[in-house]
Amino acid sequence: MNTPAYTLDARAADATAPTPHLPGDLAIWIFILAELLAFGVFLVAYAFARSGDVAGFDARQLGLDRDAGAINTVLLLTSSFFVVRATQAVAAGACARASGWLVGAIGCGLGFVVIKVFEYAEKFGAGVTLSSSTFDMFYLSLTFFHFMHVLLGLVILAALWLGTRQRRYGPDNMNGIESGAAYWHMVDLVWLILFPLVYVMR
C-alpha cells in the first residue's frame, strides 16, 4: 500500500483508493448465486432441448406475446431504476424520498404481475400446460419460476418500504436496503436474459 504518510484521516485514504465494496450482505449474494445457477442450468437444458427440435420450438415460440413481454421488460427496468434511486436516497439520509421511489418500484413490479397474469390466462385458455409440448414446458417453467421470483421480490420491496417508513435505514445502515435491492436487480437481470431467449431469439 502506498498510502501517503501525511493522511491521518482513514476515510480520506479510502476516498483516494477505495477498497472494492460488496453492496449488501454476503448471505444474499450466496443466495443470488445459487438462484442464478439454477436459472443457468435451466437455460442450458432449454438450449439442449431446443437443439433437438429447432423447428418445433420456433413454431411454438411464434405463439408468444412479444409485446406484453417488451412492456414487462420496460416495467422491470424502470422498477430497477427506482430501486437504485431509493438506495441513493437512503445513502443521502432521505428515507422519506426513498419510500416514494420504492412505491414506484413496487407499482412497476405489480404491473409486471398483472400483465403476466393476463398472458397466463390467455395461454391456459389455449391449452398450454407443462405437458402440452417440450417448448411449452420450458416456457411455463422458466417464466413461472421467474414469476415467483417477482412475487418474492415484491415482498422484499414491501419490507424495504416499511423499513424506510420506519426510518430503519440510513447512510450508516445500508445493509438491508442494499441486500434487497441486489435481489431485485437479480430478478430484473434474469428477465433480461430470459425474455430474448424464450420469446424472441430464433
Binding site: 460488496l22 448471505a27 400446460t129 407443462l130 413461472f144 419460476f145
Partner: protein
C-alpha cells in the same frame, strides 16, 4: 473485498428461500395431481386391483423385487411382469415356489388362494399399464 455478512440476513434468506421453494414444490405437486389421470391408469382400478395391492403389500413383495424400479434389487422388476410373462405364468410361478434348488435364491411359498392370485395378477396388470415414460428400457426390466 470488504463486505457485510450478518446472521440476521443469513436467517432471513434461509426462511425466505425455504418457504419459496416449498411453495414452488406445492405448485408443481398441484399441477401433477391435475395431470395424473392421464398417466396413472386410474380408470383401471377395480376392487380386484385394490385387493391385489393389499396382497402385494402384506407379503412384503418389495422386500426382494422392484416395482417401477423401487424396492429391493434381489429379484426381478415386476412393474412389467404381466407383459413379460402373462397371467398364467405368474400364477403358476408363485404356486410352485420355492424351487429348493441348492444355492439358488429362494422365493417363499405364500399359500395364496385362487382369488388372491387373481387379484394380484389384476394389480400387476394395472401397474403394467401405467404410463412410465417408456421405462424400463426393455421387457427384461
Amino acid at each position: 473485498m470488504s463486505g457485510t455478512f450478518t446472521k440476521a440476513m443469513a436467517r432471513n434468506v434461509f426462511y425466505g428461500g425455504t418457504v419459496f421453494f416449498f411453495l414452488l414444490f406445492i405448485a408443481l405437486t398441484f399441477d401433477t395431481m391435475q395431470g395424473l389421470p392421464k398417466s396413472d391408469n386410474r380408470a383401471a382400478i377395480t376392487p380386484a386391483v385394490a385387493a391385489g395391492k393389499h396382497v402385494w403389500e402384506t407379503r412384503n413383495c418389495l422386500g426382494c423385487h422392484t416395482l417401477l424400479g423401487e424396492g429391493a434389487y434381489y429379484a426381478p422388476e415386476l412393474g412389467n411382469v404381466y407383459k413379460r410373462r402373462g397371467p398364467e405364468f405368474i400364477k403358476a410361478w408363485i404356486q410352485s415356489m420355492p424351487s429348493n434348488t441348492p444355492g439358488r435364491r429362494q422365493m417363499p411359498q405364500f399359500n395364496l388362494t385362487d382369488k388372491e392370485l387373481d387379484d394380484l395378477v389384476e394389480f400387476l396388470k394395472y401397474t403394467s399399464e401405467i404410463n412410465t415414460q417408456n421405462w424400463p428400457p426393455n421387457i427384461e426390466g
